[in-house]
């Protein structure tokens, strides 16, 4: 893997000023004369380095600062403090040479023309990114084949399913072969099958084309399947930056053992620390169970633990 650093931030900070209105009409009148503002730190001193070809997951609860961080990395908003370097540029300078090297897909914002076909949108992007005709045709064919949407390229976007539309969003984003792909909740609202397909394609793009991918998602399945490295953000601060498996290994502490018996109590469920599984199994076997299953901690519980304990350790 190429280890060239392409994203580097140091103490990156973004604060917003928000007006605090006191309750009721009196508060409104006071607000007209004298306003009180509070500083909201959306991203707090985040230092981050991403090397070319990496697939990095960015997780955190709602309002943690993930999207704000992505917006600063893509130049949409300017940071309040710290330093930032993406592909050798200060993103908020919004240089075209910089914008040609990355793509961003936001799960809740579409860049497709709803009333037209995907091919129509692609034509516009071909001109915007100055892609030569032959390269454009090759890329379009490659991605339509990869995503299995060849038959849908001439269909009105409005009539596509959510999963198909997300595949099209990815094709539009990848058309100019970006070096970095920022994905903000790409699987939001998708069913299990569509999410799985999207994950498969993203893995291929990262692996085959060497595209660096920074992914934010609330679905831990996305992060576990795709990202070798995970960054956890909570209340704007980075609370973990390291291997994804290591992260889950650290916080996935318990195993849930379910035993089924022929006689009462018929079914017994126990949750034990990972290291005590052998002892627990040994004890259960004495009751001659009909069946035994061992499951990991529920993902939701693990995530909650990551956010809660990560925050405490960071403090």
């Amino acid at each position: 893997m190429n280890t060239q650093k392409i994203i580097e931030t140091k103490d990156l900070t973004k604060t917003y000023r928000r007006f605090q209105k006191k309750e009721g009409l009196r508060g409104s009148i006071q607000g007209l004369i004298k306003r009180e503002y509070e500083e909201k730190t959306a991203v707090n001193s985040v230092s981050l380095t991403v090397s070319e070809g990496e697939f990095v997951g960015l997780i955190g609860p709602n309002g943690a600062g993930k999207t704000t961080l992505i917006k600063m990395l893509t130049g949409i908003i300017a940071p309040t403090g710290g330093s930032i370097d993406v592909l050798g540029y200060y993103p908020n300078d919004l240089k075209n040479a910089f914008k040609k090297q990355y793509a961003v897909v936001m799960g809740q914002k579409s860049q497709l023309f709803m009333e037209l076909t995907v091919n129509d949108t692609l034509r516009l992007f071909k001109e915007i990114y100055e892609i030569p005709e032959a390269d454009y045709r090759d890329s379009r064919e490659y991605f339509a084949e990869l995503f299995g949407v060849k038959d849908l390229m001439n269909v009105q976007v409005r009539t596509l399913s959510l999963g198909e539309r997300m595949k099209m969003e990815l094709i539009v984003a990848l058309l100019h072969s970006p070096r970095v792909l920022f994905l903000d909740e790409p699987t939001i609202g998708l069913d299990a099958v569509a999410s799985k397909q999207i994950r498969k394609f993203l893995k291929e793009i990262n692996h085959d084309r060497g595209t660096t991918i920074l992914l934010t998602s609330h679905y831990m399945e996305d992060i576990r399947t795709l990202c070798d490295r995970t960054v956890v953000i909570n209340h704007g601060s980075k609370i973990y930056d390291g291997g994804t498996e290591e992260l889950f290994g650290r916080y996935q502490r318990n195993k849930r053992i379910t035993a089924v018996f022929d006689r009462p109590p018929y079914r017994r469920e126990v949750e034990v620390p990972k290291e005590q599984v052998n002892d627990a199994l040994h004890e259960l076997m004495q009751y001659e169970p009909k069946d035994i299953t061992i499951a990991e901690d529920e993902i939701g519980v693990v995530v909650e633990r990551i956010y809660r304990e990560g925050e405490q350790q960071n403090a």
Binding site: K71, N96, D120, R123, E127, Y129
Partner: protein
């Protein structure tokens, strides 16, 4: 430059394709805008039927003024009005994010994304009125005069565009700009009916310098009827230059302080 032309061509093509997806939507505006224009003419006729001179201008010059203002307004409606008008909504919804991340001027793309061919008949009708006005005013048509008139029309279309951008760029800094847009349409309505020659004193300062709608159709008509003094030329060029500067500063400043919208 070449890239921008290609992008513009593609935006126009896409817009036509988009409009042609809806047959009634495509042909409807021709009739709607045409009808609106006729209504507007009837209002003008009613206002000016019993008036011989307004601000020193005779009937023929007034017709030229109405035709010129309609022409500038029609060009605005065809080319950039609907695109520029969508800017505040895109800022508020955070949709601007998608424009900022593409390697093409967001303003260019926004301005030309919603061209409106439905208003093309307005341009033709305006030209008919201008020709009629020229005949009524017994103008001697020479190439130089026509070129000078066209130059001013183009320049005033730019000024009109800049005024629209300025009003809409305020959305970068304020939550609601509805009242500003009301002010804009009130000024336009007034200046569409009264030539700049009627303004004196503080009104002249307002409509010549602060909200320069008063010069938009007045200067091209002055050039056509031979009333364009060096002072008028210098003033008009200075206003366009200054407002170009203000537009650039405001737009760039707006982009810099854009905070997107919470997703």
């Amino acid at each position: 430059m070449r890239k921008n032309i290609n992008v513009i061509k593609e935006l126009v093509r896409l817009r036509f394709q988009h409009l042609m997806m809806f047959r009634i939507g495509f042909f409807g505006p021709f009739f709607v805008d045409g009808s609106l224009f006729v209504v507007q003419l009837m209002v003008f006729s009613a206002v000016y039927a019993n008036v011989e001179r307004i601000g020193g201008w005779e009937h023929g010059q007034m017709i030229l003024y109405i035709g010129t203002f309609s022409l500038i307004n029609a060009i605005n409606m065809v080319v950039y009005f609907f695109g520029v008008n969508s800017i505040p909504a895109k800022i508020k919804s955070g949709e601007m994010d998608l424009y900022l991340t593409k390697p093409v001027s967001p303003l260019l793309r926004l301005s030309l994304e919603h061209i409106n061919p439905g208003s093309l008949p307005l341009i033709l009708m305006s030209l008919v009125i201008i020709v009629y006005g020229a005949w009524e005013a017994e103008l001697r048509i020479e190439t130089g005069i026509v070129l000078s008139y066209l130059f001013w029309v183009v320049l005033m279309c730019i000024l009109y565009y800049e005024m629209e951008i300025i009003f809409r760029s305020i959305s970068f800094f304020l939550i609601s700009t509805a009242k500003m847009e009301q002010l804009e349409s009130a000024c336009l309505e007034l200046c569409m009916q009264l030539p700049g020659t009627v303004f004196y004193g503080v009104y002249k300062v307002v409509f010549y310098c602060i909200l320069p709608y008063g010069i938009m159709a007045t200067v091209p008509v002055k050039s056509l009827v031979g009333e364009c003094t060096p002072a008028t030329v210098l003033h008009a060029l200075a206003v366009v230059g200054i407002f170009t500067g203000i537009t650039c500063v405001l737009w760039r400043g707006g982009i810099r302080c854009y905070n997107s919208a919470s997703s």
